[in-house]
C-alpha cells in the first residue's frame, strides 16, 4: 500500500470512528471514498468553512476539513444536539474540534511505534471564495467523504516527508 492509500485509509477510519461515537452521520457506502484526482482539486471542493491543523515531525504539512456552510451547520447541530440554523461561534468551534479529532485519528492510525508527527491547535477560516495555495506540496490527498446528509472533504497536504515514509516504506 502506498503512502497516499495509507493516509486515505487512516482518514476514513478516523471519520468512521467519529461517526460511530459523537457525530451520528452515516457514510454513503454506495460510493467508493477515494482521493480526488489532481485536476479536480480546485473545482470540486466547497470552501465556505475550512478547519486546518498543522502537523510537524517526520511528516510536515496540514490536515484540513473543507465544508459548505450547510454541512458545517448539520455537523455542529449533530455534535451539540442542538438545532443550529446560522453560522455562529458554535459552528466554528465544532469545525475546529472535528478537525482536531480527524487529525488525531489519522495520527494514531499511522503512528504504531512512535509519534509520526505532532499536532498544532486547529484554526478555522471562513468567508466567500476562499482560495488555498500550497507551495510545492509533496502530496495533496483530498478525500471526499460522502454521507447521508451531504459531503465534506478531508485534505492532507504534505510539504516534507522523511524518505522512509515515502511510497512503499512503512517507517516503523
Amino acid at each position: 500500500m502506498n503512502f497516499k492509500e495509507r493516509f486515505s485509509q487512516a482518514a476514513i477510519a478516523s471519520v468512521t470512528d467519529i461517526f460511530e461515537t459523537m457525530l451520528p452521520l452515516k457514510m454513503d457506502n454506495s460510493v467508493h471514498q477515494k482521493p480526488l484526482p489532481e485536476e479536480m482539486l480546485n473545482s470540486q471542493i466547497p470552501r465556505d468553512i475550512i478547519g486546518t491543523i498543522g502537523i510537524a515531525g517526520d511528516i510536515t504539512g496540514t490536515i484540513s476539513l473543507f465544508l459548505s456552510c450547510k454541512m458545517a451547520m448539520i455537523m455542529a447541530s449533530l455534535l451539540l444536539e442542538e438545532d443550529i440554523q446560522e453560522i455562529n461561534e458554535d459552528v466554528y468551534e465544532s469545525v475546529a474540534e472535528l478537525t482536531n479529532m480527524v487529525a488525531g485519528g489519522i495520527k494514531t492510525a499511522l503512528s504504531t511505534q512512535r509519534d509520526l508527527f505532532e499536532l498544532s491547535l486547529p484554526t478555522v477560516i471562513s468567508g466567500e471564495n476562499q482560495q488555498t495555495h500550497y507551495i510545492q506540496p509533496v502530496y495533496n490527498i483530498t478525500l471526499p467523504i460522502f454521507t447521508d446528509r451531504g459531503t465534506f472533504f478531508i485534505s492532507t497536504v504534505i510539504s516534507t516527508i522523511s524518505r522512509i515514509y515515502q511510497d512503499g516504506g512503512h517507517g516503523e
Binding site: 470512528d17 467519529i18 468551534e93 482536531n100 479529532m101 495520527k107 494514531t108 499536532l119 498544532s120
Partner: protein, 133 residues
C-alpha cells in the same frame, strides 16, 4: 453523588458535550467548573478541592501534560494524602502509545481518546470515582 469536577479544554464544544453527558448520567449532581487551558485550571486547583479533573492535552498557554505534572507537584508540596488527591482523566485526540505512556507517568489515572461516547465517559468516571466523592 456530589463533588467537584473540573473540565479543562480549549474547545467550548468539547466542554459542552461533556457537560451534556454528565447531566444525563449518574454524575448529574457534580459541581462543574471549566477552564480553557492549564493555566486557568491551575488557579481552580489552588483555590480549593477538586475531586475529578478531565483534561485535554493540546491547549494554549499550558498544555494538559504540563498541567497534570503541576497538579501532582502541587499536591505533593502541600502534603495532600494519597486518597485526597484529584483523580485525573485525560480526554484527548492524542491516542498514540507514546502519549498515553507520558500521561500515565505524569500522574493521570485514566485516559479517554476522542471521539468518545457518553457510555465510555460514564464507565471511566465509575472506575476513577469508586474511592472518592
Amino acid at each position: 453523588m456530589a463533588g467537584t469536577i473540573l473540565i479543562v479544554d480549549d474547545s467550548t464544544v468539547t466542554r459542552k458535550v461533556i457537560k451534556k453527558h454528565l447531566s444525563k448520567g449518574p454524575y448529574a449532581n457534580l459541581k462543574v467548573l471549566e477552564a480553557p487551558d492549564g493555566q486557568k485550571a491551575m488557579e481552580f486547583v489552588e483555590e480549593g478541592s477538586i475531586d475529578l479533573i478531565l483534561s485535554d492535552w493540546n491547549m494554549p498557554k499550558m498544555n494538559g501534560l504540563e498541567f497534570v505534572t503541576r497538579v501532582r507537584a502541587y499536591e505533593q508540596e502541600n502534603k495532600r494524602p494519597e486518597d485526597q488527591r484529584a483523580k485525573i482523566v485525560m480526554v484527548t485526540t492524542e491516542g498514540t502509545i507514546d502519549k498515553v505512556t507520558q500521561a500515565m507517568e505524569a500522574g493521570v489515572n485514566q485516559y479517554i481518546v476522542k471521539p468518545f461516547t457518553a457510555e465510555t465517559l460514564t464507565k471511566t468516571l465509575k472506575k476513577v470515582l469508586t474511592v472518592r466523592v
